[in-house]
Amino acid sequence: MYITGWTVALSALGVIPTLWVHTREFAWMWILGVLVLACLDAVLAASTRGLGFRRDVPRSIRLTEATASTLEVTNLSRRRMRGAIRDAWQPSAGAENPRHRYRLAAGAVTTLTTVLRPTRRGDRFADRVTIRSEGPMRLAGRQRSVEVAGQVRVLPEFAARRHLPARLARLREIDGSTAVQLKGAGSEFDSLREYVVGDDVRTIDWRASARRADVLIKTFRPERDRRVFTVLETGRTAAVRMGDAPRLDASMEAALLLTALATHAGDRVHVSAFDRTERARAIGTSGPVLMPELADAFATVEPVLVEPDWPAVVRLVQSRVSQRALVVLLTTVDVTAVDSGLLDAVEALSRQHLVLVASVDDPAEAELLAGREDAAAIYGAAAASRAGLERAGVEARLRHLGAEVISANPHELAPEVADRYLALKASGRM
């Protein structure tokens, strides 16, 4: 049962007769009368069982986009019904207008639309639908809640996709398919053509030139069908907040951009989210289906407060790819990497593969580094300096092991990784 504002208004109306009847008993009687009327109204209200529900929600949307969940309400009773319906969702589902008024004749159907603007990645669930059925006097009514299942999968935002067109253009330049001829980049044999002045004399194919009267040169193109194995670390350090999102989200953006780019470049892409076990993966597919599959797999990945198992990552990579591959480790480079086994893992992987370690820098640390206000801020700057030095040391060791290292701010990591991938491709190091 619930009461409406009209009941309160009716009790407030009791003030007028108190101007003439100066007793408290009258006030009590008035309120009691109003309450009895309200109870009567609730008894007279139609049963909440009279409404039937069907829900229709889009399966998935991208974070920061809005979608609509529709709730089809049917009056199954033989009475006219009116009142309100609350279509409750988890707070992070961002339901903008969960409350709806309804007025349904017997057998009538209406559709209530709740706009959802999710604020977090992952599966967002609908909670119960609460029905209020108002009585004929509109003083009170009945209220019940019912579970109407609903779920929407919120995919990663992939804000880095705005960097994709520029990278694809660069990829085409390397590929030689644009007007700007940059043949020669890459290491995979493409075709033979006649020598023109300005070509690199090292590319002259003497054997073919001997068979023909002309001097022929070999042209190359970037390697195709290479393997790119991206490991997204979801352990302890991935949970650290960078601004308002965890580090994992920045890594995920980089993984998505790299995957999109590598798929266009014709490489085979494996992606795995890993801490001590594999949390999500996207392998074996290529082409346009990969990106949706990857986004779907990543949607529910959350950081876990455990230390990542780097030897297991090495075993995972070795079991999945046998040829040389570009292994991208999206993790955190800090002084703990020495103990955690990251260095050993990079060393083990570098024997067969090319390793790229990409780390997200903490903007909070940069702020600390610039602190000069008082002694406390200067000690903060000193601590940040020390952390930076330690990180630089670890990065130097990683480079020494033959790995490529990138560390960048959350918003810059994805384009940096993409650029490095293109640079590696252009130089034929893959």
């Binding site: 009590w28 409404l51 988890q90 109407v148 949970a239 965890p246 903490d362």
Partner: protein, 401 residues
């Protein structure tokens, strides 16, 4: 048409079935109702103070108060002395029950009352202020049936009474009359006329109690002694009341004070009920707004690890340990590595190489650069702040385009 069934609210079992399922709840509710009823009956406020005009018990005096009311005397019963607030002392009897509970300053104040004063019970201070130098008060008097033995009209009208307590007036003076004196010399009633008003003391208080009022001439004496005036203010002494009586003084020619204290009586009569009604309405509004439209929805919260936690922790450690030299070393090293990167000095290079590079790039004296980058470590916060200012200045010179 879709074949998918509608989701509906589950049917509820009937009320009777629910009640049958939870007999304990039913029993509890019944018990609560019975308890509430008993409490409501018990909670009637009763006055149990002896000689109180509102006490219906055997030692109370409600019977006399009601009889006075029937005889046209307007009896009021203030709870404190200060609330007596007598408007017309000349025509108001001030009755005080159990004066032995009063403080002497309160009795002094009472004795100044310019009207009829009746004490139900005797007290040394009162008797002394009436001129009885050595009062002897007895709470028990044997063989109590006594005649008036004086020429007071009220006492003569009462005839005989049963004396159960009294006071001795051995050193009698002329300005009072003691009546109903027992053979032992204890009197039960005393009348002392004054310049304005008369003081009467009923020493044997059982006369006015509900239990003994009907005996002998008790009712006659009590009624006559208390009804000399048209109005009566009946105060029951309370040891927790420290106030003094108030009355309007005829002799006081000054106008009443201009300051008027706020009083509920000055508000219009509908004000309090209206406020009460509004209060109830607020309660209703609470019911209205307090009813939640469906349950709260829980949010599965993500793990939140604030950024740069370890760095902040290390900063606090530096600070607590006053490790200015450690902090300075870190700051110098990172500044040096940044400047080295800018000036092309390798990380593996010596400090001297960097100092030379900085000196040649900026023109800052070499010993200043050397002191800033590699001088003695600061020993306190102030020196650390100076050092970092030097480092920042140096770095901005190096990074100047």
């Amino acid at each position: 048409m879709t074949t998918e069934a509608h989701t509906r609210v589950a049917a509820r079992p009937g009320a009777v079935a629910t009640l049958r399922k939870h007999p304990l709840v039913v029993a509890g509710v019944l018990l609560a109702f019975i308890l509430l009823g008993v409490l409501a009956v018990m909670a009637q406020p009763t006055d149990e103070r002896p000689l109180s005009p509102a006490n219906p018990g055997s030692d109370g005096a409600r019977a006399v108060a009601q009889l006075l009311g029937e005889h046209g005397v307007d009896v009021s019963n203030p709870q404190t002395l200060s609330a007596t607030n007598i408007q017309d002392p000349g025509s108001t009897t001030l009755i005080v029950s159990v004066p032995s509970d009063l403080q002497s300053y309160q009795i002094d104040a009472l004795m100044e009352y310019p009207g009829d004063l009746v004490f139900l019970g005797a007290d040394r201070t009162i008797l002394q202020s009436l001129g009885i130098t050595d009062p002897d008060i007895s709470t028990y008097v044997a063989d109590g049936r006594t005649d008036a033995q004086c020429d007071d009209a009220d006492a003569l009208a009462a005839g005989t009474i049963n004396v159960t307590a009294g006071f001795g007036t051995h050193s009698g003076a002329a300005q009072y009359q003691a009546c109903f004196t027992t053979p032992d010399g204890y009197s039960a009633y005393l009348v002392a006329p004054r310049d304005s008003g008369t003081v009467r003391i009923i020493g044997s208080t059982s006369i006015v109690t509900n239990e003994h009022l009907t005996e002998e001439g008790h009712a006659a004496l009590a009624l006559r002694a208390l009804s000399h005036q048209d109005a009566a203010v009946w105060y029951v002494a309370d040891i927790f009341d420290s106030s003094v009586p108030t009355w309007l003084d005829d002799t006081n020619d000054l106008p009443p004070s201009a300051e008027v204290e706020a009083d509920a009586d000055m508000l219009p009569p509908w004000f309090i009920p209206m406020l009460f009604m509004l209060g109830l309405t607020v309660l209703m509004a609470g019911l209205w707004r307090g009813r939640r439209f469906g349950p709260l929805v829980p949010e599965p919260l993500p793990v939140i690890v604030p950024g740069a936690e370890a760095v902040r922790g290390r900063a606090r450690l530096y600070r607590r340990a006053r490790a200015a030299h450690h902090a300075a070393a870190a700051l110098r090293a990172s500044t040096a590595s940044r400047m080295g990167a800018r000036l092309g000095v390798p990380r593996s290079g010596t400090m001297n190489a960097l100092i030379d590079a900085v000196h040649s790039a900026t023109g800052i004296p070499r010993d200043h650069v050397a002191r800033t980058l590699g001088g003695p470590p600061p020993s306190n916060d102030a020196e650390l702040i100076d050092l970092i200012a030097d480092l920042d200045a140096l770095e901005s010179e190096v990074h100047r385009p």
